[in-house]
Amino acid sequence: MNPTAPALQATFGTAIGRTAVARDGETVVYVAPDRLLDVMRWLRETPGQEYDYLVDVTAVEYRDRERPLEVVYFVRSLARRADLRVKVELDPAAELSVDSVWDLWHGADWLEREVYDMFGVAFRGHPDLRRILMWETYAEGYPLRKDFPLRGRFSRAEQVRQALNANPEAHYSLEELSIADGFAELPAEMRERLRRGERGNVPDSP
């Protein structure tokens, strides 16, 4: 057991749930979602802990529907060569959201975007929470959730139809179009739709 786990329990009390040792020998600490940012800041900035490196952020949903969805943070102290795994449990039936750790580690930027893209977990305070691997108009849901079928929700014909019907400007984010010089020259109707936050023309599914 990593000595950080008892230190966390002594500092944060009930905000730290159970701790466990995984099959690879690493310590897993379960943290209450509302205290995550405090715990992470403590791990990063307390002398003697110094978990300065964020290895990975991911999420796990179990086949057992009763079990909560977990957001997993792998943190590492490069100086001490120590690893720790921090988990936050979220109720998949409720709204999935947790604080972003981007302020602490900028490496979390794309990792959190990927978790958002694949699992639908919203990270509060993330500077640019957009889909990353799927395109922005993707309307089928969150691919790595267990209720998402392997072949996707839409038929192949429907997917092709949507791809062909998408507007070219949908390939740019709103931010990019607004910094473009030609923004003022876009047709008024297109500017209006961009102002409303539309990213392209997604036809209704049959």
Partner: protein
């Protein structure tokens, strides 16, 4: 007598404000438009040879200077992690070939190590050494592709040919071992798909003897080359603190001066018993990344030599019939072997409840494989920690304030492979 001078004026046909034909002087005029503050949006990729795959960059330019760079990824997304949840552990191995397809063997090893850690399997000594050989061969071919493509991006064609020639020699060895050049699928949970053939050791020894000569040639052509140094030094700098903050790994992290190498600091496959050095950069720029990768090729060659020297005899697979398929002849003649064969093909190798993460030092950085199991033969979750995806996320930070042509150099120095970025 008067002297007549003719004023020659450089001019081009044009229109005056009234629409009449006139000649517009080419010399600088007072009313030159003020272009400062006018930004241009350039779309680079996804089909552009200098983006090393289907990476798309939307770049905001002030003149030639990059103000902002917004990468778009996902054009090669194949959903490997989702596919993995529907497959037995051994059936996942072919998927790993296709993630970082420039070092398929190392990916195979990383995935097999994670599954074995989850199941608590100890692999045999011969298998351990062969896997080290697989990893280091992958490091060499991946760095050779990086070196060749990067030098082409910066205008040097010759090192590309030399580097790809060396890569071909490794590919021949891979083909000899696995039958495939790229989709090797060389590992199995608990061992290897096949032992090395007879001429393999001899072939690899010949390679390790002659490879440093090519490295020396590349070194002589590039390292002190004024053009190369000018295009790479001071470009895309990441300080050590920034590199850590952005979760960079592998040569990108070490070029910034952080001496972290998974092989040294969290050893796997007995790397602690090999003698090799970890090159660390000083400035964190493109040039240092080049130096680090070049030196890593030398060190990989050293490890290959040591591995060949110590390669022990013995089995390549663990002797557990629940994990390793019995041979075909035994399965057809022995009742018990046939039952195990049947159970493994139909049900797969079952993993106990729990989770395991194993990070290995891939050519691109730390490749992590994270398995969560609920006790069945298929993982609940298979997560790849993709090193080039995370390294690429620092690209906007590195490119800011550099020229557009330097953006190409910086992007090349990240060493991305889109199969892994998009998975």
């Amino acid at each position: 007598m008067t002297k007549r001078t003719v004023e020659l004026e450089l001019a081009t046909p044009g229109l005056d404000p009234g629409g009449e034909a006139t000649r517009v002087p080419l010399t600088a005029t007072a009313e030159e438009p003020d272009l400062a503050g006018e930004h241009l949006l350039v779309n680079l990729g996804p089909q552009h040879p200098a983006t090393h795959g289907v990476l798309r960059l939307v770049v905001e330019l002030d003149g030639e200077t990059v103000v902002r760079c917004i990468p778009h990824v996902g054009y090669l997304h194949s959903g490997f992690e989702k596919l993995g949840e529907y497959r037995h552990y051994n059936q996942i191995i072919p998927l790993t070939d296709r993630t970082d397809y420039l070092s398929p063997m190392a990916n195979n090893v990383g995935m097999a190590l994670a599954a074995e850690r989850l199941m608590g399997i100890e692999i045999t000594p011969r298998c351990t050494v062969l896997r080290v050989i697989a990893c280091e061969m992958s490091r060499i071919i991946s760095h050779m592709v990086w070196l060749g493509t990067t030098s082409i991006d910066l205008g040097a064609f010759t090192p590309f040919l030399w580097a790809f020639q060396e890569r071909e020699r490794i590919y021949d060895l891979q083909e000899m071992w696995t039958g495939a050049r790229l989709t090797t699928s060389v590992t199995r949970v608990g061992g290897l798909m096949a032992d090395i053939p007879d001429q393999f050791v001899e072939g690899l020894r010949h390679f390790t003897r002659t490879f440093p000569k090519t490295l020396a040639e590349i070194d002589r052509v590039l390292t002190r080359n004024a053009v190369w140094a000018g295009r790479t030094q001071g470009i895309g700098v990441m300080t050590a603190a920034e590199a850590i903050n952005y979760s960079l790994s592998g040569p990108m992290l070490r070029a910034s001066g952080v001496p972290y190498d998974v092989r040294k600091d969290k050893p796997y496959l007995g790397y602690e018993t090999y003698e090799f050095d970890v090159p660390v950069g000083e400035h964190g720029d493109v040039y240092d990344r080049y130096l680090v990768r070049l030196e890593e090729c030398h060190q990989a060659n050293r490890i290959l030599e040591q591995a060949l020297d110590r390669l022990p005899d013995g089995p390549i697979n663990v002797s557990d019939p629940r994990v390793i398929l019995p041979s075909k002849s035994r399965a057809m003649s022995d009742m018990e072997a046939m039952i195990f064969h049947f159970k493994q093909v139909m049900e797969g190798v079952k993993a106990p409840v729990g989770e395991a993460y194993v990070g290995i030092e891939n050519p691109k950085g730390e490749l992590g494989n994270y398995f969560v199991s609920d006790g069945s033969a298929k993982p609940v979750r298979w997560r790849i920690r993709p090193p080039s995806f995370i390294n690429l996320s620092a690209l906007p930070k590195m490119a800011e304030g550099h020229l557009l042509s330097d953006l190409i150099a910086i992007n090349a120095s990240v060493d991305i492979v889109m199969g892994e970025v998009d998975r």
